[in-house]
């Protein structure tokens, strides 16, 4: 967060951001459900210039056996960036950043899954970032939740995610890569819309207590927008004749 000085104007006098968006405008988001043949569930998302694919296998047998839990199924999650996904080629081996992100994504999705119904099994969630652009962990969660529903894993709620942040002392919705590098704060949030619970929250950057409140609320507004797009992805695949929504 910050540190890199930039000649980029992050917010001009008309309230327009460096990529032309208004302060509470998210980037373009598109989600497609059921894109892989072999995975039990899958989804592809484009969120700004993020291009991410999520595949779900399970519930299935756990290997190694000592990881399995007799009372409940477990979830495993791998967030991985392809070497070509960022400007400077990334080493394919998992970095510490990817390992931490895998963990927070797993913990963001876990509260939504009803794994007690499948003792001694595992649900594997694999997320591949094909192209990264700021906010990739939120986009990853958005795709993973759709993939889990596509696989038929029983869920209490969907999980939708979006980041809010601060540039030029203004709270903004959906932080892009330049804003993440040169801005004042970046706060990714994941949220379950029907149960009204936040399942992922991180912050880099400095906020007053009031800015913190505004940032959470702004991010949740973004999550609710994403939820509609997740719904559409599932409706398009499963309810082809439109349903009555």
């Amino acid at each position: 967060m910050g540190g890199r000085e930039s000649t980029l104007v992050l917010l001009d006098k008309n309230g327009i951001r460096c990529d032309g968006r208004k302060v509470t405008e998210p980037r373009r988001i598109m989600i497609k459900a059921g894109v892989l043949k072999n995975a039990d569930g899958s989804a592809y998302i484009e969120f700004g210039d993020n291009k991410i694919i999520a595949g779900v296998f399970g519930p299935r047998d756990v290997h190694p056996k000592h990881m399995s839990n007799t009372d409940t199924g477990i979830i495993r999650c791998r967030y991985h960036m392809s070497p070509f996904s960022v400007t400077e080629r990334k080493n394919p081996a998992p970095s510490r950043r990817e390992i931490e992100i895998s963990k927070v994504i797993k913990e963001a999705l876990q509260p939504s899954l009803m794994l007690e119904k499948f003792p001694r099994t595992v649900v594997d969630v694999f997320i591949e970032v094909l192209q990264a652009d700021g906010g990739s962990r939120c986009a990853a969660i958005d795709a993973a939740s759709v993939a889990l529903a596509d696989a038929g894993i029983p869920m209490r709620d969907m999980v939708c995610a979006c980041a809010a942040g601060k540039v030029a002392d203004t709270i903004i919705l959906d932080v892009n890569n330049e804003e993440d590098q040169a801005g004042q704060a970046d706060m990714p949030v994941a949220y379950m819309p029907n149960l009204n619970k936040v399942t992922l929250l991180q912050l880099d950057g400095v906020l007053t207590r009031d800015e913190y409140k505004k940032c959470i609320e702004t991010a949740i507004d973004g999550c609710k927008l994403v939820y509609q797009i997740q719904k559409k992805a599932l409706t398009d695949k499963f309810f082809e004749n439109g349903g009555d929504q």
Binding site: P59, D150, I153, M155, R156, F238
Partner: protein, 224 residues
Amino acid sequence: MQDDKKRYVIPGDVITTGPYRPDQNVTLDGNRIIATVIGISEISEDTVRVIPLTGMYIPKSSDLVIGKVVSHTSLSWEVDINSCYVGILPAADVFGRDFSAHADELSTKLAKGDLIAARIVNFDRTRDPLITIADRELGKIESGTLIKISPSKVPRLIGKRGSMIQTIEMATNAVITIGQNGLIVVSCEDSNGLLKAIKAIRMIEEQAHMANLTDKVKEMLESR
């Protein structure tokens, strides 16, 4: 979807509130009944459930399933029943109560790769499901074509009181054995009939949730 007791739902959707008993694929949050899978919600007199449009097979007692023998120990066979749980067929089920691990060799009766029609005896999630083939219509499947569909589409394939599957069998002269686990064996002496039957099954899998499916299937079966 004109009937407002039926609705398309995704996980987390609130189906209704009030004094209903939560049935399959729903959960209770306070007094709200919430869908837990993608499917069609159904509110009947005192219960609410969701008919899933996706999801893997979870064994249920007395379900008929088609399975593939994958291995055996000296006491039982392990059978892939298209679920995350493996079916266990005890040797005594086939050899009888006088089964002896020394004298009776399991692979003489059922070998790796054999297909069987079996019934789930019991299943409680704490251990793998027990299955049996000790019944007239069960046992090793000697011939036929194996097809896999999503288990959630099986009820549609069977139809009300078996009407859909009977329509296909009569139009094609095929004999179709349907496993609740989404595995289906089609036998037909006539190769055209076989192809038509398979085509009908695939059609039902793809369009299970759409209206007028029965008519469309009938129309396809009647055409050349």
